[in-house]
């Protein structure tokens, strides 16, 4: 219960919750960019559904952040009023959608992560985070079913689809290490039983991702490079551009509701 938390804990949970909201809204927006651009109508609807799942998830996290902050900042504030330095999403979420193979490979890597992450978050001692995780994991299982099948289709499809899928895996791989990196806040949340110790997910994630990539006859890359910084607000050049577009309506009509 929020009312039982001391001020310090409340701030920590707030920051932790905002991060989860940022992850969800950023990848949700990236997937939403496929709306009316997908290869064919059925996939367009399916991708838009996934995007809406993530945006709905962001609203739940930001809604909880609104309650924790209790200072007049509403969910729209967190999504639309913060610049890229204040966003604390993982970098993998903000990478441009690229081609269809790139989007689906990124989705697979993120879905497997979300699956294991949410499985842990369900046991959070924070009832709200646990409840959000309980709802989100059902969506994630479906997302993974889709991204898993698509990566198989692409890897085992044509020469062209295989080349594109492999290139996506190679290009994105260096961004996956950040998923299992814990900073001070995350360590504190994990120790308190509120958050998840992401490091503990890495083994399961690697095993699952490797088995799917091999099933798709794609090569698992060497760990040759890695980048991080999203949790500190250091982003790729792409996030600023994305937020520019995502926030432009709100900037033109501040505080507008509909």
């Amino acid at each position: 219960m929020v009312s039982d938390m001391n001020e310090e804990t409340k701030q920590a949970v707030l920051n932790y919750t905002i991060r989860l909201g940022d992850d969800a809204v950023v990848i949700g927006h990236r997937i939403a960019e496929w709306c009316r651009n997908a290869p064919f109508l059925e996939e367009d609807l399916a991708l838009s559904n996934v995007a809406l799942d993530f945006i709905g998830r962001a609203r739940m996290f930001y809604g909880y952040a609104e309650e924790l902050a209790d200072d007049g900042r509403k969910e729209d504030y967190f999504a639309y009023m913060r610049d890229h330095r204040e966003y604390q999403n993982l970098l993998i979420m903000e990478l441009p959608r690229g081609d269809f193979a790139y989007t689906m490979v990124r989705q697979l890597l993120v879905d497997v992560f979300n699956l294991y992450y949410l499985e842990q978050l369900i046991s959070s001692t924070d009832e709200t985070l646990a409840a959000i995780a309980g709802k989100a994991i059902k969506e994630t299982r479906y997302h993974l079913r889709r991204s898993h099948e698509w990566v198989l289709r692409l890897g085992l499809g044509t020469d062209e689809s295989k080349i594109r899928a492999q290139k996506a895996v190679d290009d994105i791989w260096g961004f996956t290490h950040e998923l299992f990196d814990l900073d001070e806040l995350e360590q504190q949340m994990a120790d308190a039983g509120i958050g998840v110790d992401n490091r503990s997910l890495q083994q399961d994630w690697s095993a699952k991702v490797k088995s799917i990539l091999e099933e798709a006859s794609l090569i698992v890359p060497e760990d040759s490079w890695k980048v991080k910084g999203g949790r500190e607000g250091y982003h790729t050049e792409y996030l600023g551009q994305m937020l520019n577009e995502m926030q432009c309506v709100h900037r033109a009509n501040p505080g507008l509701e509909w």
Binding site: P39, L41, L45, A46, R145, R146, E149
Partner: protein, 95 residues
């Protein structure tokens, strides 16, 4: 990729337990498995169903408009096939 390379599937939904599956429309997919997922995304977004069947449109054998004369007209002059044709004895009037 374009829909030209995909197959057409007919989608049947059961809206509640106990009811029959009803035809709701069709969609394109590569195979049955994918058709099932697209059916979920296209036709059950607003909780319309609890069960989905997908059938390849090619696998449906349908009667043709041209057949109607030989298929349906002959039953028009056979009212004795309807229960209402028969005068029931008073004893069974509430049947």
């Amino acid at each position: 990729m374009s829909a030209e390379n995909l197959q057409l599937f007919e989608i049947f939904l059961r809206s509640r337990r106990g009811l029959d599956h009803k035809h709701v429309g069709s969609l394109h997919a590569e195979d049955h498995e994918q058709a099932l997922e697209y059916a979920r995304d296209v036709y059950t977004r607003r909780s319309e169903g609890v069960s989905i069947w997908v059938v390849k449109s090619d696998d449906i054998c349908a009667s043709q408009e041209d057949d109607s004369e030989s298929f349906y007209d002959p039953s028009n002059d056979k009212p004795y096939r309807l229960a209402t044709y028969y005068q029931l004895p008073d004893e069974v009037n509430n049947m």
